[in-house]
């Protein structure tokens, strides 16, 4: 049996080498990869074609060419994606699936600088209505036929049901991992925890599940130990780059749960079993989504959700990882900040810039928080 460290090293290796992951997949299966832009997409449809869905969540480049096409007030993850587009980094992809739940993504979907075909679909925002589900089924139907045209693979119901099962199992395994990571912070630091999620974007999901299960087995074989550091919940779009995560490890701030769009928001809702057609059940996932800045909620239950997360995990604080220039997240912040304050939940906002190379401001803020707790 491999130990925790070895398995985590494998996740990190995959997370750091998406190009290799795609090349390996191609040589094994003879099939290519399809890009999945943030934030939400019915990846199961892509998986059912046998192509590898690959998450396009930016990088850590210095921004040069992207400056021509995006003003400085676009969020850093889209600056990074644009830089990579300009470099031709995505040109091997058979297609790119594009959701447009914010104004920046709407624009990005119309200005792809690479050579791959871009398949755009829109999520409805009046999510309580049955007609919204019907609308999304139509969008997914169009997406499915475009995918079939491009890949030459007819997506059968059987294949789609299989992919749905694979993804539900993957989400369940990761949810279990999130709980265990909170129990074993000595083994799974912030950097490692993130690598498990990041690798998910570049791996076929049943393989990722198997590796996560192996990690779970190795973790649970270890005795539980008391944690001398503090416990935090993080919320936002994403928490990168590694330099920022290293501060959490250095300051002994264990991430006991997250509400990151790149991480646990992807696991929040499973595709339900049932007699309805698979596309309908996939559409319902969006209706049942909650606590996310790009999924309209006129009751704004995110603050309540964060308070419950903090209570359930015994977290000492909630950290808002604010993606610079992400206005959906910035609009949510004043509301959940007030709610956290009213409930006496300690909290802190740090700015996230995916391309950052210096973290002194975040260090000072996190350090003061760690000392305060």
């Amino acid at each position: 049996m491999r130990n925790v460290e070895t398995i985590l090293a494998q996740f990190k290796e995959i997370a750091a080498n998406p190009r290799q992951a795609v090349a390996d997949y191609r040589s094994e299966t003879g099939k290519g990869a399809i890009g999945i832009m943030p934030i939400y997409a019915p990846e199961e449809l892509v998986h059912a074609t046998g192509y590898l869905p690959v998450g396009l969540w930016g990088g850590n480049q210095s921004i040069n060419q992207a400056r021509t096409y995006l003003p400085p007030f676009a969020c850093s993850v889209m600056q990074q994606v644009m830089e990579l587009e300009c470099q031709g980094a995505f040109n091997d992809l058979a297609a790119v699936v594009f959701s447009v739940p914010c104004d920046t993504l709407k624009c990005m979907s119309q200005k792809w600088k690479g050579t791959s075909p871009v398949l755009v679909f829109t999520h409805p925002q009046n999510r309580g209505l049955e007609s919204a589900n019907r609308f999304l089924v139509e969008e997914y139907t169009r997406l499915q036929s475009r995918l079939e045209e491009i890949t030459g693979v007819k997506i059968s119901n059987a294949a789609l049901e299989n992919s749905i099962r694979v993804y539900n199992e993957n989400r369940a395994a990761l949810r279990e991992f999130v709980r265990l990571a909170a129990d074993y912070p000595q083994f799974v630091g912030a950097v490692s925890r993130h690598a498990v999620f990041k690798a998910r974007q570049f791996m076929e999901k049943s393989r990722h599940t198997a590796l996560v299960r192996e990690l779970i087995g190795a973790l649970t074989a270890q005795p539980l130990q008391p944690w001398s550091g503090k416990r935090v919940v993080v919320s936002g779009i994403l928490l990168e780059p590694d330099g920022l995560l290293e501060l959490f490890d250095e300051l002994k701030l264990a991430i006991v749960d997250d509400d990151l769009a790149q991480e646990s928001r992807q696991l929040r809702v499973d595709v339900q079993e049932g007699n309805e057609a698979p596309l309908y059940r996939l559409a319902r996932v969006w209706q049942r989504m909650y606590g996310c800045s790009v999924a309209t909620d006129t009751k704004k239950l995110r603050g309540k959700m964060l308070i419950e997360m903090a209570q359930k995990t015994g977290a000492d604080a909630v950290i808002a990882a604010m993606m610079k220039f992400c206005d959906p997240e910035e609009w949510d912040y004043p509301i959940y900040f007030d709610e956290l304050e009213k409930k006496g939940v300690r909290n802190l906002m740090i700015e996230v810039d995916q391309g950052a190379t210096s973290f002194e401001q975040a260090r000072t803020r996190l350090q003061s928080l760690a000392e305060l707790l």
Binding site: D103, T122, P124, S131, F135
Partner: protein, 422 residues
């Protein structure tokens, strides 16, 4: 009631703008419902139920134009709103927080007392629509929670493929029906379907007159100063479902036709070049942005921005698909190809010689495609363009000197190209 006969369009505009605010205040005083609405959300539903309407974007623009934005922005800042959030939204949130404070304490906060803004009452409900941005979803979520009031959402999904598919119209029409049932609950009485039909017809009459005005810029020289549309826009936003808009716009269009007949033009013979203005106006510097252009003899004869209220539809279509289509086809809610063809049309109709692009710090949706839009348009019509950095209501994000230089450059480029042509 003051007689409107004999009044000029300009007088009517001022009169009805004040009257709308007064009506909202009166409604509030009498315990009637007041609704805050997104600027291109369908007012037909609420107007059919006699709900007084207030438009925060227009209100924020007014505050900006009267140099009162900074005080409101500061309040929003205190409440944790990032400067990255839309300045209309922040001005309105700031204003709302002050109204709320006043309602809770009985004391008028100083910033509210000295604000040059027209006084508006707090809403009992709000209605939003994302045909001009998804920010309007976030902003109205916050209003709903901060004020604990119902929020009607009309979601019009981004049209990545044109024409608008039937299934999108079906979804939007269903949202209208859902909004109707929400309104029945909020108002405690059945929806007035007869009035709804009348209001749709009224809206179409207002829009027809609005389009008559916009069409006047096709004449060369133009009897219409395009910047006037920015002023008259207030009524197409706030009163298109009332006859106030129709009366005012008809008067203005008549006046323009009269001027045309008499050979009276906006720039009195000094019209040298004609431009399209792409983006929202810079309200705190409306005068300056206009004067700089005018000093170069450059008249604005086309803008897709006021044109967004060309909400023509079949008022007799009871399926409401036609109305749904009108509210979702807003050019910034469509793919780049459609956006470009809309702008090309506007440039052609306005016989424009160039474009000024407003890179608006407050509006990602109206900024992040500017480079591609400009390139595609230039490919098609070969006309020059410039871009300037600005903001619709945050005066700190606009540098007059940069604007002046860019506009001068454009005017030189236009003179060169028109000179070459002649």
């Amino acid at each position: 009631m003051i007689s409107t006969t004999g009044k000029s369009a300009k007088e009517l505009l001022a009169y009805y703008q004040a009257k709308l605010d007064e009506e909202a205040r009166e409604a509030k005083a009498q315990g009637k419902l007041v609704c805050w609405s997104a600027s291109v959300a369908p007012p037909e539903l609420c107007v059919a139920m006699d709900i007084a309407m207030v438009y925060p974007e227009t209100h924020a623009a007014g505050i900006g134009a009267r140099k009162g934005a900074l005080d409101m922005l500061e309040v929003a800042d205190r409440h944790g709103y990032s400067v990255d959030c839309c300045s209309y939204g922040r001005v309105n949130i700031g204003y709302m927080e002050l109204l709320k404070e006043e309602a809770l304490t009985g004391q008028t906060p100083e910033a509210l007392a000295k604000s040059p803004a027209a006084r508006i009452p707090l809403p009992d409900l709000i209605i939003t629509c994302n045909n001009i941005c998804n920010t309007l979803l976030k902003w109205y979520e916050n209003l709903a929670v901060e004020l604990n009031i119902p929020c009607i959402v009309i979601d019009v999904p981004f049209n990545h493929t044109m024409p608008v598919p039937e299934y999108a119209k079906e979804y939007i029409a269903d949202e209208f029906r859902h909004a109707i049932s929400q309104l029945e609950v909020i108002c405690g009485r059945p929806f007035d379907y007869n009035k709804f039909r009348e209001v749709r017809h009224q809206t179409q009459r207002s829009i027809a007159q609005w389009n008559r005005i916009a069409a006047m810029s096709r004449y060369k020289p133009s009897p219409l100063n395009g910047f006037d549309l920015f002023n008259y826009m207030a009524l197409v936003v706030c009163a298109r479902s009332r006859d106030y808009a129709e009366i005012t716009f008809k008067k203005f269009a008549d006046e323009l036709e009269e001027k045309l007949k008499k050979g009276q033009f906006a720039f009195k013979g000094a019209e040298k070049n004609r431009i399209t203005w792409e983006g929202i106006a810079v309200w705190p510097y409306l005068g300056q942005t206009f004067k700089t252009l005018k000093a170069q003899g450059t008249i604005m004869t086309g803008s897709a921005y006021p044109n967004m209220w060309d909400l023509s539809y079949d008022a007799d279509d009871e399926s409401l698909h036609s109305m749904a289509e009108a509210y979702t086809r807003t050019y910034i809610n469509t793919c780049l190809e459609n956006k470009v063809s809309t702008l090309l049309n506007i440039m052609e109709n306005g016989q424009c010689d160039g474009v000024v692009y407003h890179l608006n710090r407050s509006c990602k949706l109206m900024s992040f495609l500017n480079v591609e839009t400009a390139e595609l348009i230039q490919e098609k019509n070969g006309l020059p363009y410039v871009s300037f950095d600005g903001d619709q209501t945050d005066p700190r994000n606009f540098a007059p000197a940069q604007y002046d230089t860019r506009v001068q450059t454009l005017s030189e480029m236009m003179e060169q190209s028109t000179g070459t042509e002649s």
